[in-house]
Symmetry: C2
Amino acid sequence: MRSILQLRVPQIDGGESQLSGLNVEPSAEGSPVAIRFRDPQIEMAHGAGGKASRRLVEGLFAPLLYPGSQEPLNDAAHLDIGGARIAFTTDSFVVKPLRFPGGSIGELAVNGTMNDLAVSGAQGRAMVVTFVLEEGLAAAVLEAEVRAMSEALKRAGVVMTGGDTKVVERGKADGMYITTAGIGTPLNGVKVDARSVRPGDRILLSGPIGDHGITILLARGELDFEADLSSDTRSVFPLVEALAMECGPGIRWMRDPTRGGVATALNELARDSGLGIELFEEEIPMHDAVRGACELLGLDPLHIANEGQFLAVVSPEYADMAVSALQQTAGGEESRIVGQVCIEPANAVLVTTRYGGSRIVDMLVGDPLPRIC
Amino acid sequence: MRSILQLRVPQIDGGESQLSGLNVEPSAEGSPVAIRFRDPQIEMAHGAGGKASRRLVEGLFAPLLYPGSQEPLNDAAHLDIGGARIAFTTDSFVVKPLRFPGGSIGELAVNGTMNDLAVSGAQGRAMVVTFVLEEGLAAAVLEAEVRAMSEALKRAGVVMTGGDTKVVERGKADGMYITTAGIGTPLNGVKVDARSVRPGDRILLSGPIGDHGITILLARGELDFEADLSSDTRSVFPLVEALAMECGPGIRWMRDPTRGGVATALNELARDSGLGIELFEEEIPMHDAVRGACELLGLDPLHIANEGQFLAVVSPEYADMAVSALQQTAGGEESRIVGQVCIEPANAVLVTTRYGGSRIVDMLVGDPLPRIC
């Protein structure tokens, strides 16, 4: 559960001594940090994972909180600490409603953070959690979410090591907001870096897109139609692990296309690599209910959030092996190659159809589906 | 910034293999986990760090999220991961108002989490942050808090390595809630464990109590009096480090008395150690404004939150050296011995006066000052 809104993570590759070295003012020597975030106030779009989120992260958070980092932002930081290399990440969850077909906020809070570690090339090991609870929340509702977290932790093989609880007055916090942070250990031989991507590399997708976002939309009951659809929330680590085992050196980049969807994740890749991405429209797996809802609502499924899928870029000689590894892993049966990396159009994502049509798909603009995670 | 509300942290002392071992259902083998949290709904007191918080943590969170752990809960988990020993902790911040004399939510969010690491006997190294922002929040207000975080990070010598941003509708978040998680490296030779505390050990306090809680109360403007008081928010690591350098082996236990105050922290120690704590009332440093406000409002200063103080239990032979080490460190000038560990009253805190008076002080009950951090 990353996406653009993740203030993403300068991969701090320095050793512990470099971390200590940073004690001496990591940022500008006395000069004020330039801020370029010019929006006068926060809008829902700043939390949507698209362009507005990116402006906020790059214009305000990054210059002040990650001064001096020139690395592409990533799903989790990998850092050397105390002589070990660990991955570290965090996410907040404000999904509305708290429960929906296929999952709930508690499950998302575990899977989302573990998935950020997974697509950074790490196995989640330990997690901490904080709850901001609304005064008056029924204890049974809270218990259901704590149980959902407990089950998700067991399935992921991750231990919870601590947490915190705050309570705010009635009317605030919609029942609860949950924040998790996770640490993990890097998978041997896997390096995720947009700058290592090359023209000709293949784009893999682990399964059908849009299920989570459309499920949340329908669960709110604001629309007049129903569909047999449920969220895809799950841990993607077993799939990432299978991919790493079979073709670790062939993996160039991974990401879970949450807020902002596949289109936003791939636009970020295009930008960070300076290359173009060609997506083969017919190859993108999608349930009919998602396609139908998007047509009715005028949404692009490529902008709809997923919670249990991931994208990977693999070098061409590993592509068949990668698809095969994923398809043979439970939950990866619908994996396929959905595109390739090109020189042109640089910094952009081009969707092509079998019959020669094509269109440029930008990052998400605005926030058509707020608070989906 | 811990306190009871911290779902406190089973100190997982196992190596990485044990962490992996936990993949195989760390909790009850197939049997449902017994939950004893019987409150029907969440009240403000569940976030106050006192008895209600403890019921929530011990009756609901711990059985489900930390199954099998028998360790006393602590300010940060220390765990072996990837061959290194690291400390790991988290806290959410919902203080109201966002800015107050002496500090602001952004500064608290950095110092609070770093202080939890410090009093667990670790030096903070890296941090992640999430923001839950309210739609309509002025960008200038957000920028001020991000700058406050940036300054606090520089002072603490800690790097931010990632984050996340969510936006919720107007009215849902009081401007912003901030959550941080931190990792650190253990200080050599320091072991914090309530079970190592012995009768005759001395209780050290780093400075005057109650400044933070009373400052927040006054900053809300709901009372008819003013005082020249500001929050004590700061990193306590330099003091902890000085103590560790001079008398590391003499340190038995440390805690920062945030929500619930000194009385709650020491009641927890009494309970976890099975011993009694005697506090010498006249020795407890306190500003007149805090004493006066507490008298007017019928509050016990021992229950008021602090953000820049810590308690330490040291073995008697190290006591003088410990006080001296703290007093010679900037910001520790008012450190002193404020009590001692006794066999009786077991599991309780007894406050004695020079003239022979005494009273038992319990943990905080209810929530007289909500949302002070």
